[in-house]
Assembly symmetry: C2
Homo-oligomer: 122 residues x 2
DNA sequence: AATAAATTGATAATGATTATCACTATCAAT
DNA sequence: ATTGATAGTGATAATCATTATCAATTTATT
């Protein structure tokens, strides 16, 4: 692992807000000001390929997630914030998958709506 | 509804393969060769806002879906094909949503893996 | 230390989507 | 029928996120 890759990895692992690539870049720069956006993307993709982090595709661009394994997300359609939704049993939805079950490797579950702080602004 | 908007709408409604914007453009051109990509995007977004069609965000760019209401999708990580997954009970995953249930409006569920035809190529 | 291999930073290129803007189609009111 | 107001279009430029390129630097290997 190169120094830059370690910095990128640590940035994701210490983020609980599902950062975009740009947000990862800013956090990396706090610790290594010379680090470049291309390097961030390169290492994010490498870490994904290695299975060290995850990518989630939502409105406003892809985001990166330190949490492995299947878990649900919520995204606000007003401010685009993304957070984990715990306590949701995802195993139940796999039951109807008999026909294609052999080829299913993962499930993305994203709830959409308006977050509490955007609701409070009304 | 303008002629172009009708053409865009019909293109989506007659597509069961969750087309990208480019695929929608090609299908519109078959019936109205002068139609423009910007017009397609404009009308796709208008139709989404009106709730006439849906957008799903997956690898390889956004796709457009004639089917309203919550239903699950499958995307192949090899060829990127997207298709509906029927027979999956999605109501069960809403059970753990008490905390944020009031603000949840929709759920995206996308299974990921390798489709049957890509499996057969090995 | 010398060489090879891998990684970086800088930047150009790409691809998808959106914004702009001059022009055209629509349509109600004259 | 003609006008004027407005909405919508086509063409294209601009934007934004992401990827590709490549010379320079760092790291590993002999």
């Amino acid at each position: 692992m190169s120094k830059q890759k370690t910095v990128v990895y640590n940035a994701v692992m210490s983020s609980s807000d599902h950062p975009t690539a740009d947000m990862v870049l800013s956090r990396c720069k706090e610790v290594m000001p010379s680090i470049n956006l291309a390097t961030v993307y390169r290492n994010l993709n490498a870490l994904i390929k290695e299975g060290a982090i995850q990518k989630i595709m939502v409105d406003g661009g892809d985001r990166f997630d330190k949490t492995l394994g299947t878990h649900a997300h919520f995204q606000c359609r007003v401010c685009n914030v993304v957070f984990d939704v715990d306590g949701v049993d995802l195993s139940c939805i796999k039951e109807g998958l008999n026909g294609i079950a052999n080829q299913v490797e993962d499930v993305d579950v994203t709830f959409k709506g308006v977050c509490q702080s955007c609701l409070n602004l009304n």
